[in-house]
């Protein structure tokens, strides 16, 4: 047990320091420090004469009242630290209070400085940034000090307020926010900004030369640092001699283990029995238990090589890659979505997963495996197509980390992605927590911030993302040979050209329509005017249909919306209240419905609609082909369901007796319309509505509604091009027009002067169409604007002419033909080289405060001196990959053999598998670790060879037998005196359940993710749980970050957003709930019990088989007896509860099987 005491008082050392925003410092301490007189000068403190006054003026009684009101410590500090400036301030403030200051100060004026700048600096900044106080190395008490700046670089750059740290900090733009916990008044910020903008004039200051940027010296590794075991290449170790070698030890590994055990006078356990061994080996290597046949075969093989043969058989099983690939995927923090925020599907991540499985099955040398993942795109080309293609996929390792894709600060986003790559790479391959050096030199390991940014530069020079917008897009590359890609690109270009032709065709047609519409300007103007007044008059109208008595009057026409004569809108009579029919969205767009009606009596009719809408969906009403309202049913009523249905008056129109056709049309989906009602208009006076009849030509509803908006806006424009129109509209005559006689108005009023709106509309039209006079420019510009009243941007294609629609259809068919013939090329998340560049050290990790530039290179502590420099024209990833896989790299091989050891024993030789640094744990068997690393490299980095080495050892094969006296000496089993008993991981439990039940689908590879690539994986409403009912191996279930399958979460799958070399093994109630209640367990116990019951023979035989399937052993006699007893008792209880006789036996056997699934012997490996 680690000391908690140690944990707490080492706390301050363990934690990173403040990165600037927050305040963990001690206010009292600062105050007391600031109260001390300044006795020593900081080297960067400039000579006193900068902007200060002579020593003789130093102390002067401070009479200013404001000063006295300040807190005592401040006053004392002022007196004691004797800031020379203060005397001046006192003087200036005194002047100010007498009102002597000139009314308009410029920032160059000394008094501006003395009145606005210096007092602000003293009041808000000096406490921490002057005299002896120099938080972050920054002084603000002289111009030179500000120009020099502190740790984060210059505080100000004269003339450029946005440069330097000062203004962004007081504006609280970023993480650095000053003063702490309080923002300055906006006026003060404005003054200080203006001061810097105008050159940062500091009275009496000597013209400051630009001071040198402060250099934050890089911390280089010391000789002592280099002595640390993990930074030295593995030594060639000779196998130790041990006293008891022959009796127990079988392999060199055992001799290392035994030497240690002997040194502490402990004895190891003997080899476990054969049933235990085969179960252990099978679960270890392929993740499911052995079948009874496999067990029997092993038992029958009495040769000395029997177990080796089992291991060889398992290593050639394709399931081996599935089992061990998953271990690597933990390290590679594999996931099928970005997680964190918007959560988009990594629809191609599975290719990387399959690549890993294949690499393990092929026993790809680990050095090559690493090189492919870091620099697959940069390795010398291979003539083997498969090799070329898999390397594209391999670099997905760097790309598939979780990343924030919606981040408003693109620079932060990129640096966070780089950090994630570096942190993962460091821990995964080297067991080094490189990420700790992002904000400052690593606190414990000799990795400097310079080292970090030297490596970060390599990733900055690589391309992971297509862009850093919101939502950002990660890069994918084709997994195909260049020739095929070229062919695809050619066909894509053809298809694109066809698309361009289509667009052009639409363009031509809309241009024609626009020209035509412009030629009907007068009609549109009148129509818009009509609708405007119509709408306004409706504001006071009440829906007649609400009144049942009135709407049942004989002259009313009441229609159920869903009873349309023609149309394509969906109808619903169930989900929105049984029997209440409504129109739904959906189906083909645009939505339309048509109703044939008959009017008995000519007159004015009011059209009412009843509908429900959670969002506005304005819909057009056409009467006999003419638009009478373009934004009907456009209100939000609260929801989509019937309780939100309300009646609205939509239009009043004149109808002659006889047949008419009403059409509702919406380019998008309809609101949920329930009813329509036409009733004789009574609440609206005729004169209100029909000042002038609507034009009788056919008009485009879209343009009418745009004209309405436009005209309405023009009403507010005094002396605008339509002031005359609005005058006539409101007054009825033009004679008294007293507005500005603009040239345009003069032209509009030219003889013969229009007297009616129709005439005026015609005049507008004539001018616009026929004249090119300069006076018309503003008008032309207004109505010709791209989003102006004649815009056809929002025109649905179905509104184009029939011929065009038909022509477009043909063109689209041809285009589809081409598109269908384009070869589908798989894409994979993949990275390539970008623009090679170095990074500057990010002070405290922030991209807003940059230090010096660092050349791309390997970390000093690990570099061996003979690394070639990184080519200025390349990212350096290839050198990084090659360097990591040098045979004598201190960490790569050690970290990997430790991971393999951990998976076989439950703990690594280094018990902090992802941290080989100083805060990691020292190896329990350092010589063994080095020997294994050496052997591993010698074997050609073969992981399968490593398995053979370990599994054939006595230490791995020993039993888990408990020994009280040994346990008292080594309770944690650090010296491996027995095998650790271990719970199966989430995947192994589920896969074993499926295998034992008999439902396991052994198909390999591919994706089960139901979401398309880059689609949103998680919506607020659902996760597609069906996918997780698959009988495929658990490895293939989608890993949706931020929404991990409940089962996996319960069984310590861990968070796939961070790499994790050692999973937790908790014992929590949700695990028990799953085993007791889940559908999977119910299903597998059902399948298994059915299988058992169809077997011939006695029940004892069935029980034996069940025990063999679960535990790879036979039951004891008493276990058989207890089982039979349970089945009988269960049947009895079922019978007592009324279960029919034929169900008793199947249900009892199912219960028996389910109970075995809840046993520890199944969940644990001995």
């Amino acid at each position: 047990m680690k000391s908690n005491t140690q944990g707490s008082h080492m706390q301050s050392r363990f934690l990173c320091r403040d990165t600037g925003r927050g305040e963990s410092g001690d206010f009292a301490k600062r105050v007391s420090r600031s109260m001390r007189p300044s006795t020593t000068e900081h080297p960067l403190t400039p000579p006193r004469q900068f902007g200060t006054i002579g020593q003789s003026e130093l102390i002067r009684p401070l009479e200013n009242r404001a000063v006295r009101e300040r807190r005592v410590f401040k006053t004392r500090w002022w007196l004691m630290s004797c800031t020379l400036q203060w005397a001046v301030v006192g003087r200036v403030l005194a002047i100010a209070s007498l009102g002597v200051l000139p009314a308009q100060l410029t920032a160059q004026d000394p008094e501006f400085f003395e009145k606005k700048v210096r007092p602000a600096l003293i009041e808000h900044c000096f406490e921490c940034h002057s005299g002896d106080a120099q938080e972050s190395g920054l002084h603000v008490d002289s111009l030179a000090a500000l120009l020099t700046g502190g740790e984060r670089g210059p505080a100000i750059v004269p003339g450029q307020p946005n440069e330097g740290t000062f203004i962004p900090a007081i504006r609280h733009d970023d993480t650095l926010q000053m003063p702490l916990n309080k923002k300055l008044p906006q006026a003060v910020i404005a003054d200080l900004t203006q001061w810097i903008q105008d050159g940062a004039h500091w009275p009496d200051a000597e013209p400051a030369l630009t001071p040198p940027r402060p250099i934050t010296a890089e911390r280089l590794p010391t000789d002592e640092d280099r002595l640390f075991w993990a930074f030295q290449p593995p030594h060639a170790i000779s196998v130790p001699r041990v006293a008891d070698a022959t009796a127990w030890a079988r392999t060199p590994i055992d001799q290392f283990i035994l030497q240690k055990l002997e040194s502490v006078q402990l004895a190891p356990n003997a080899v476990a029995d054969k049933r235990t061994l085969i179960r252990r080996a099978t679960l270890a290597l392929i993740g499911i238990p052995p079948t009874p046949d496999e067990v029997h075969a092993f038992l029958a093989d009495h040769s000395p090589q029997a177990f080796e043969r089992v291991v060889d058989r398992l290593l050639t099983s394709p399931h081996y890659g599935e089992r061990w690939g998953r271990h690597w995927l933990d390290v590679a923090r594999y996931g099928d979505s970005n997680g964190l925020d918007e959560n988009l599907a990594y629809g191609n991540a599975w290719r990387y997963r399959d690549y890993v499985v294949e690499a393990f099955n092929a026993d790809r040398p680990y050095d090559e495996f690493i090189r492919e993942q870091i620099a697959g795109d940069l390795l010398p080309p291979s003539s083997d197509e498969a090799v070329q293609l898999r390397r594209v996929v391999a670099t997905g390792f760097l790309s598939l980390g979780s990343k924030m894709l919606a981040e408003d600060d693109p620079v932060k986003m990129e640096m966070d992605i780089i950090d994630e790559q570096l942190d993962t790479l460091g821990k995964a391959v080297m067991g080094l927590t490189l990420g700790c050096a992002r904000c400052h030199d690593h606190k414990f390991d000799p990795i400097s911030a310079h080292d970090y940014y030297a490596l970060a530069g390599i990733f900055k020079s690589s391309k992971t993302m297509d862009n850093f917008g919101v939502v950002a897009r990660w890069q994918e590359r084709p997994v195909a040979l260049p020739a095929i890609v070229a062919q695809r690109d050619h066909q894509l270009a053809v298809a694109a050209a066809m698309q361009a032709a289509i667009t052009q065709r639409v363009q031509l047609e809309t241009n024609r329509m626009r020209t035509e519409a412009r030629s009907q300007l007068a009609a549109y103007l009148l129509a818009a005017d009509h609708q405007l007044r119509h709408d306004e008059s409706l504001q006071t109208a009440q829906p007649i249909a609400e009144d049942v008595t009135r709407r049942t009057a004989s002259d009313c026409v009441l229609l159920e919306a869903e009873d349309y004569a023609r149309g394509n809108a969906l109808k619903d009579t169930i989900h929105y209240g049984v029997g209440i029919g409504v129109l739904l969205n959906g189906g083909e767009l645009p939505n339309f419905t048509e109703y044939d009606i008959e009017i008995k009596q000519s007159g004015h009719y009011q059209i009412d609609l009843r509908y429900a809408a959670a969002a506005a969906r304005p819909t057009s009403i056409m009467l006999d082909g003419k638009p009478i309202k373009t934004d009907a049913a456009g209100q939000v009523t609260g929801g989509w369901t019937p309780e939100s249905q309300r009646w609205f008056v939509e239009a009043v129109t004149e109808l002659t007796a006889g047949k008419h056709m009403i059409r509702l049309e919406n380019a998008g989906p309809f609101p949920h319309i329930d009813k329509l009602c036409l009733a004789p208009a009574t609440s609206i006076g005729e004169d209100q509505v029909f000042v002038e009849s609507p034009p009788s030509v056919t008009l485009l509803p879209l343009i009418v509604s745009q004209w309405v908006t436009f005209l309405k806006a023009q009403r507010e424009v005094i002396d605008g091009p339509f002031s005359l129109w609005w005058h006539l509209q409101s007054r009825g005559v033009l004679d008294d027009f007293a507005g500005d006689p603009t040239p345009l108005n003069a032209m509009l009023l030219a003889e013969p002067q229009p007297t009616t709106l129709a005439q005026l509309a015609q005049r507008y039209q004539d001018l616009v169409l026929l004249s090119e006079a300069a006076e018309l420019a503003p008008l032309q510009e207004l109505i010709g604007a791209s989003k102006g009243p004649f815009s056809l941007d929002d025109l649905p294609e179905t509104a184009l002419s029939e011929a065009t629609v038909a022509e477009l259809k043909t063109l689209r068919e041809k285009q589809a033909e081409v598109e269908n013939s384009i070869p589908v090329i798989a894409e994979a998340m993949s990275i390539t080289d970008g623009t090679p560049q170095n990074l500057r050290v990010h002070l405290r990790g922030s991209h807003t405060t940059l230090g010096e530039e660092v050349a791309r290179r390997m970390p000093h502590i690990l570099a061996q001196g003979d690394e070639p420099p990184i080519d200025a024209a390349a990212s350096g990833r290839l050198q990084l990959a090659e360097w990591l896989t040098r045979p004598n790299h201190p960490l790569t091989a050690r970290v990997l053999v430790n991971r393999v050891w951990l998976a076989h024993f439950g703990d690594g030789l280094v018990r902090s598998p992802d941290n080989f640094g100083k805060l990691g744990e020292a190896p329990t068997h350092p010589e063994l670790l080095d020997w294994l690393a050496h052997e591993f490299v010698q074997s050609g980095w073969s992981i399968k060879s490593l398995h053979r080495l370990i599994l054939n050892s006595a230490v791995w094969q020993q039993s888990t037998h408990w020994n009280e006296s040994t346990a008292a000496i080594d309770p944690e089993n650090r010296w491996l005196w027995r095998m650790n008993r271990r719970r199966l991981e989430a995947e192994a439990i589920r896969d074993s359940l499926l295998a034992i039940g008999g439902d396991l689908d052994t198909a390999m590879g591919g994706s089960l993710l139901p979401t398309e690539n880059r689609g949103y994986v998680t919506s607020t409403a659902n996760i597609n749980i069906e996918v997780y009912n698959s009988s495929r191996r658990t490895l293939y279930l989608p890993i949706v970050r931020s929404a991990i399958f409940d089962y996996l979460t319960a069984f310590d799958f861990g968070d796939p957003s961070a790499m994790n070399g050692q999973r937790d093994r908790t014992t929590v109630a949700p695990q028990a709930l799953f085993l007791m209640n889940s559908g999977l367990v119910a299903k597998e116990s059902e399948t298994l019990s059915r299988t058992l019951l169809t077997l011939p023979g006695e029940d004892t035989g069935r029980i034996s088989l069940a025990f063999e399937r679960f535990y790879s052993r036979l039951p004891t006699e008493s276990e058989v007896a207890s089982s039979l007893e349970f089945i009988a008792a269960y049947e009895k209880q079922l019978g007592d509860r009324g279960t029919t006789a034929d169900q008793l036996r199947p249900m009892a056997w199912k219960a028996f099987c389910r109970a075995l699934m809840s046993t520890n012997e199944f969940l644990y490996v001995n």
Partner: protein
């Protein structure tokens, strides 16, 4: 200085039982556990006396507008339609226009005279119990990142959620229930990360009951119901048989605290099957209570039930309960209609919860926290919307040792930036832990080479708001 709280190491934590007794008996045998050792969820002593024992977080997903709710800005009304007279932040989410006054009236309430808009007439009656923090600010202007920062303290990486940290620090008082429950949480914008345990052991992860989009009366704990609808006595019989095999296996294996713990975990799970649904079934609450929470009304019944369930969980000793009003408050447009609807859905239930806790004497040691992942801009997006604003916004606390009836901190005259007594999310976390008796500097967990905290390297306890 030695820490007064015994934090087990990662290894130990994993080896221990989830349910206590077994491991305790065994530990004596192993001679390695100090007296009092028990499961990771057993109640633990605090660093210093706690003011609050439990937390209810009422999360308004989407970002409610401070200037339309609890941050009254007369100058904003005055300058409506004018441009903002100072710079907008360097980083922002969407383009915005000129100042937009609140469409709602503000009135003063209570002894404290706090201004509350007409959006929250019910909560307004409780202003004398609220500690309104007007100077909140966070670091990120996007939902995903801001949600993570609010829930985990990091807007960049996956870290344990605050509920997980608190459960890790304090354990839970009811061994039949999870220590950390989140009701109908949102699955977007970080999803499970908001109640996950990240590198803390799985013992401390939140238990989600339902999820956003599922009505709160349909929400269930995963696998709490038997897939075959097995009757309890049959299930018991089955379990007894399995446990018999388990005990036999344990006897052969030699002492093993983990095997023992697992045997106990089945018993806990078995009890939980009964305890949790009973607690969710609010049928035994009086009609008056149900009406008070708004369960009789369409608009309020969903969130009302969440609030009522929260009270019932708190009563039973659950440490941290979160209710989520999911992703509704994001009014880039339709502010007038949608903010009004949102407020209506939560106002009465929240007021009822405050009143109910007070009547039952639970408010004293229950800390209520209300707010979203950020606020909204006082400048308009379109003509009826506001953009995200992490620069300055409002959250409020109640009960659990905070000063009642105060406002703390302020934004500028328009409500854009926090300018006075600013409280960063890290500070809020530090203060919350402090109220629970935990020192945010000492509540650490070592992983990957360093000690981590909820507040990372930040955080300051806002002692001014502690009663």
């Amino acid at each position: 200085m030695p820490s007064p709280i015994a934090m087990p190491s990662r290894r130990e934590m994993l080896q221990r039982s989830a349910c206590g007794f077994g491991a305790m008996a065994l530990s004596a045998l192993l001679q390695q556990q100090a007296a009092g050792a028990s499961g990771p969820l057993s109640p633990r002593s605090t660093h210093f006396p706690a003011r609050a024992k439990q937390v209810i977080f009422l999360f308004m997903h989407g970002g409610p507008s401070q200037v339309d709710t609890f941050d009254y800005k007369p100058q904003l009304i005055k300058d409506h339609g004018k441009p903002l007279p100072f710079n907008k932040p360097r980083v922002f989410s969407s383009q915005t226009g000129n100042l937009l006054k609140s469409p709602w009236e503000f009135r003063q309430y209570g002894e404290s005279g706090a201004w509350v808009s007409d959006l929250f007439p019910h909560v307004a009656k409780h202003v004398d119990d609220l500690c309104i923090i007007n100077g909140m600010h966070g670091s990120n202007s996007r939902h995903g990142a801001a949600l993570l920062e609010l829930h985990t303290g990091s807007d960049t990486f996956v870290r344990p959620s605050m509920g997980a940290w608190i459960t890790y620090g304090l354990g839970t008082e009811n061994q039949n229930l999870p220590g950390f429950i989140t009701i109908c949480p949102t699955l977007t914008h970080g999803g499970a990360t908001s109640w996950g345990s990240s590198f803390l052991p799985a013992d401390f992860q939140g238990t989600a009951i339902g999820s956003a989009g599922i009505a709160s009366d349909q929400a269930k704990i995963p696998f709490i119901e038997n897939a075959d609808h097995l009757e309890r006595p049959l299930q018991r019989q089955e379990l007894d048989f399995a446990q018999m095999l388990n005990r036999r296996n344990l006897a052969e294996a030699g002492p093993d605290s983990v095997l023992e713990a697992r045997i106990n975990s089945y018993e806990l799970a078995y009890r939980l099957q009964t305890a949790a649904p009973e607690l969710q079934n609010i049928g035994d609450e009086s009609e008056t209570t149900q009406q008070a929470y708004g369960l009789d009304k369409l608009e309020t019944k969903n969130f009302g039930r969440q609030c009522l369930m929260a009270r019932r969980f708190i009563e039973q000793g659950v440490r941290f309960v979160q209710c989520t009003h999911s992703y509704k408050w994001d009014q880039h447009g339709d502010l007038r209609v949608d903010h009004a609807r949102n407020a209506m859905e939560v106002d009465q239930p929240i007021a009822a919860l405050l009143a109910d806790l007070k009547t039952r004497g639970l408010l004293d040691d229950t800390l209520i926290l209300w707010g979203g992942e950020f606020g909204r801009t006082p400048v308009a997006q379109g003509d009826d919307g506001r953009d995200h604003n992490p620069q300055g916004y409002t959250m409020w606390l109640a009960g659990g040792g905070v000063k009642p009836g105060i406002r703390y901190g302020a934004t500028d005259e328009y409500g854009y930036f926090a300018v006075e007594n600013k409280v960063h999310l890290h500070d809020l976390h530090a203060t919350m832990l402090h109220l629970l008796g935990l020192d945010h500097l000492k509540l650490t967990y070592k992983v990957a080479g360093r000690d981590f905290r909820l507040t990372d390297v930040h955080g300051r306890v806002v002692s001014d708001i502690i009663a």
